[in-house]
Amino acid sequence: MELKLDNIVKRYGKLTALDGFSVTFGPGIYGILGANGAGKSTLMNLISDNIKRDGGTITFDGEEILDMGSRFRAVLGYMPQQQGVYAGMTAESFVSYMGRLKGLHGKALAENVDEVLKLTNLDGVRHKKVGGFSGGMKQRVLLSQALLGDPKVLILDEPTAGLDPRERVRIRDFIKELAADRIVLLATHIVSDIESIADEVLLMKKGKLLKMAPPAELVSSLPEGWEPVMYRPSLEDVYLCYLGD
């Protein structure tokens, strides 16, 4: 299983959001770090084909995802950054509806919905309207729908934003479990999340891939004499060192 981005270019008017971006993902968790405007969300939107690219190719197992169309979306689980939900739907209805759009039906859908609602700890509020949920609960609803249908490629844009520490740890551990046989792309500002679960970290700056390596390797690559923020060097130092101004 391989998701390959080759020489991707994306421009918004005069602004170049991604400039000749190339990377290959195999099974595992990839943490994407970058300051605001670095191109993380653009990258996510390009892989989920929510925006048009200006150049380059994205292939899944050697086949262009645009040619694959709905076949690619059948193996994709996407959790966007914006908390777009149907406020009038209950959590169960919302996840069921998204399951239908993923092509699930019958008993498989019902079981899948039950499973993801339990995993995201929403089982107790499944009959409550999503519109009345807190930001963290909405995050979990969006994560639930992304997990439906056993996706091979999971794109999670800020999945733990707004969650309390206990929930964050729970979700983080769960994502780690998921990664065994799938590609998980994780964009977040919470560096500690990535540090503990990512197999590799992508550092993005102004639309370019600055570095891509396992967290420990990145930490060890810090220049000599760097003063760590805490007691010992961490990924946060990597962020500040390479992506800070």
């Binding site: 918004y12 969300s41 653009t42 939107n45 989920s48 084909d49 929510n50 925006i51 709905s70 979306r73 059948a74 994709l76 996407y78 966007p80 914006q82 908390q83 777009g84 939900v85 149907y86 406020a87 009038g88 739907m89 209950t90 169960e92 209805s93 069921s96 509806y97 998204m98 239908r100 759009l101 993923k102 092509g103 039906h105 859908l109 019902a110 919905v113 499944r126 009959h127 409550k128 309207k129 519109g131 009345g132 969006l142 729908q145 249908g149 794109i155």
Partner: protein, 787 residues
């Protein structure tokens, strides 16, 4: 932000106010002119109204007999002048009659304007003048009868009070009779009288009911704006501001008062000015209000001018009270998700009590001391009624007006108190508990919905489609009264009656039947002539059928039924109906694409396996059923009138006759039956309607939210359709209403001239509608917002 600016400068609310004003004005114009006149050109209508005003002026102050003779003179002159203009009819006029017309023309400068007109427009104007004369005659009859009416009420009261049932002097009934007699006697004693004063303009203005509901809608829009911070999750933030509690409440009271006055100006002021302009001026405002027929029961001694001033002030005060009432009801609802539902339920309950509670019911105070008494303020002036309170009669108008300031002050205080004291969190929320129970049960059903079923559910429930369907059905039913006339006033002749008996395939049996009828007719010359006419028709049908190669039938098409429904006579009605269908479709389908945009769901949906073409296809399928619904509510009555008329004359079977037999449609080039022809017309209409729905959805998918989608669709599709229906032919180039109504014209002109040109609007919208559907399928149901 300044609260005044926030409420009054919001583009959405400004647009809503504009739409309300346009709807009020358009429908008022239609009701002011009546179902017949709206199809005449505005110029002709204005001319006739000017004539009305002149005629009223000419009889003002005259004695009843003299006024009546003046009206008779004008009536006769219009009839003679019609003959005079028609060269065929002129031959039958005597020289004296011609001289009289020419003499009359010299005296009536108004008619010289008709000289240069085209004959069709002149006929329109003359028909309108006839109608105006009849109205002045009615007005005169009312004025002459008013003193008698006053005496009759007093006599009736005196007579009834002597009967055993009403005789108990301590009963409400007796006191009510005495009070009624006394109030009307006072009017007579004070010399209140009705005068001829161009009252038609005032009458239509006062009784126009739709304006009251549009005003209510306007107030609801304003009151809903007071709850925006709750819906946006900013309630706590607003209350944390120094001026976010009592002071905000007081400001909103002032805003509501201003909105109530503004609404009166927008909804009623415009209608009053329009009405008066059409009637040729304000007339005699010093005449007693009782000069307006609908105010005959008013027991207040007041002039028309005084009445209008009082009426508009009461309207504004009532509007303020209604707004406060809605505010208080919504204010106690903690969960902002239920505000619309609570608003709808409250108004529905009040309306049900107002409209359906019997007058005799002991609960009738709920009927009269009801928020809708203040919505329908005119009924306080047009209906004389005393309500039983502790055995004593109280005039509904006086008590309602007395309570008005008291209630307004009390509700204003309550509204401020709610704004200041109601906490955003920690309230007991019964509605949420009930809704939770409902959701628990509904989830059991919803989990079994298919993807298509979900789209239907979303449209009907989450987008409020159910309410819109009910509204569309009710509005279609109400609007049909305006344009229901199909069958011409052509007399039903003896020959028609024979053709009705002979209807069906022509065979030897037909000839034998004619012989039998001839024997029955005997020596009666009139019957024989009618039979000759029928036999001639049968022979004619036989010859045509032999030439055309189809089976001959007797298909009576008397009284212009086919022309009225499927031919050029019904052209304007078809336009009206098509515009109605377009407006309903805009209402029902505007939210379908915009809902996803508003919910910020587009990126998520587009990343699902069936979230693009599949979802768009399902939405188009839902639009298909909505179009079918609109088609049914708009056209089923037309079909019913058509078939009921046929059924009434036992002619339903003639629908299966080859079309060549149906005289007016007979030249249609393809050999089909009448029912096949009609089916083709209806199918084409429906296809055009469905393509219009696709266009609405495409426009909606470009809008960032549902409000903007409605606005764009009304601007692009709804308003041009209405203007086209009102006779502005130029809008036929840009509205699908032209394509829907062209289904009738196209088939008709194909038969008449063999030309396909009548189908041009259909062809244009076929291309546009298909392009819209393809774009929807290719682009999913919208584009994600920029990252």
């Amino acid at each position: 932000m300044n609260e005044w600016k926030r409420v009054f400068c919001s583009p959405g609310r400004l647009a809503a106010a504009a739409v309300i004003m346009v709807l009020s004005t358009v429908f008022f114009y239609i009701s002011r002119l009546g179902e017949f006149d709206i199809f005449k050109s505005i110029g002709s209508v204005l001319m006739s109204e000017r004539y009305y005003s002149e005629l009223v002026d000419s009889i003002r102050g005259a004695q009843p007999e003299e006024a009546e003779s003046l009206i008779d003179e004008d009536d006769a002159f219009i009839d003679n002048y019609s003959f005079y203009l028609d060269s065929d009819m002129r031959e039958y006029m005597t020289e004296e009659e011609i001289a009289a017309v020419e003499e009359g023309l010299a005296e009536r400068a108004f008619f010289s304007e008709l000289d240069g007109m085209e004959s069709s427009q002149r006929d329109d104007v003359l028909a309108l003048l006839d109608a105006r004369v009849a109205e002045v005659r009615e007005e005169l009859e009312y004025v002459s009868g008013y003193p008698g009416y006053l005496r009759q009420i007093q006599k009736q009261a005196a007579d009834q009070s002597e009967t055993a049932i009403f005789g108990n002097k301590n009963s409400f009934s007796y006191r009510n009779l005495m009070k009624t007699a006394d109030e009307f006697a006072k009017l007579e004693a004070n010399g209140v009288e009705a005068k001829v004063c161009a009252s038609r303009g005032f009458e239509t203005f006062i009784v126009f009911e739709l304006a009251d509901y549009l005003y209510l809608l306007f107030l609801a829009v304003i009151v809903m704006s007071f709850f925006e911070e709750r819906r946006a999750g900013l309630w706590c933030a607003v209350r944390a501001c120094p001026n976010g509690r009592a002071r905000l409440g007081l400001t909103r009271v002032a805003v509501l008062a201003a909105a109530a006055i503004l609404g009166v100006a927008v909804v009623y002021g415009v209608n009053l000015v329009l009405s008066v302009s059409l009637a040729g001026g304000w007339g005699d405002l010093s005449a007693g209000a009782q000069s307006v027929p609908c105010l005959r029961s008013l027991t207040q001694n007041i002039s028309i001018g005084g009445f209008l001033a009082q009426y508009l002030c009461v309207k504004a005060a009532s509007g303020f009270l209604i707004g406060l009432f809605l505010w208080c009801v919504l204010g106690v609802v903690s969960n902002s998700q239920f505000t619309l539902a609570v608003l709808g339920a409250t108004l529905a309950a009040e309306f049900a009590l107002f409209r359906f509670l019997p007058v005799q019911s002991i609960f009738n105070p709920f009927k009269y001391y009801n928020i809708f008494s203040y919505v329908r303020t005119s009924s306080l002036y047009t209906d004389y009624l005393n309500v039983d309170l502790f055995g004593y009669p109280f005039g509904i108008r006086k008590t309602a007006l007395l309570w008005l300031p008291i209630l307004a002050v009390a509700l204003a205080a309550l509204a401020v108190l709610i704004t200041a004291k109601k906490n955003p969190e920690g309230n007991r929320d019964i509605l949420s508990s009930v809704a939770g129970l409902w959701d628990r049960l509904a989830d059991r059903v919803r989990r079994h919905l298919t993807a298509g079923g979900w789209e239907v559910y979303k449209t009907l429930i989450y987008e409020g489609g159910v309410l819109l369907l009910v509204f569309a059905a009710a509005a279609a039913s109400a609007l049909f009264n305006y344009n229901a006339t199909y069958i011409s006033s052509e007399p039903y002749t003896r020959a028609s009656s024979y053709l009705e008996l002979l209807a069906g395939p022509i065979s030897e049996r037909t000839d034998r039947y004619i012989e039998v009828l001839r024997e029955d007719a005997g020596e009666d010359r009139e019957l024989s002539a009618a039979l000759d006419e029928a036999e001639e028709y049968v022979d004619h049908q036989r010859e045509n059928a032999a030439a055309g190669g189809y089976e001959p039938w007797v298909v009576p098409n008397f009284r212009g039924l086919y022309e009225g429904v499927f031919g050029p006579t019904g052209d304007m009605m078809e336009r009206m109906r098509a515009a109605e269908a377009v407006v309903f479709l805009v209402l029902l389908t505007s939210a379908m694409s915009a809902f996803e945009q508003q919910s910020n769901m587009v990126p998520l949906l587009r990343s699902q396996k069936r979230g693009r073409r599949g979802l768009a296809a399902r939405k188009l399928a839902v639009a298909f059923f909505l179009s079918l619904f609109v088609f049914a509510v708009v056209y089923w009555r037309e079909w019913r009138i058509f078939t009921e008329f046929l059924s009434e004359h036992s002619l339903l079977s003639t629908l299966y006759a080859p079309l060549g037999n149906s005289g007016v449609l007979g030249s249609f080039p393809v050999n089909v039956t009448a029912v096949q022809y009609i089916t083709a017309v209806y199918v084409l209409r429906f296809v055009m309607l469905y393509l219009c729905a696709a266009a609405v959805m495409l426009v909606g998918s470009a809008a960032p939210n549902i409000g903007m989608s409605y606005l764009l669709n009304f601007a692009v599709l709804g308003v041009p359709a209405l203007l086209y229906a009102l006779g502005f032919g130029i809008f036929g180039f840009v509205t699908p209403a032209a394509a829907i109504s062209a289904a009738t014209d196209g088939f008709w002109s194909l038969g008449e001239s063999g030309s396909f040109s009548g189908f041009i609007p259909c062809a244009v919208w076929l291309v546009l509608g298909c392009a819209a559907a393809v774009l929807l399928l290719r682009g999913g149901h919208g584009k994600p917002k920029k990252v």
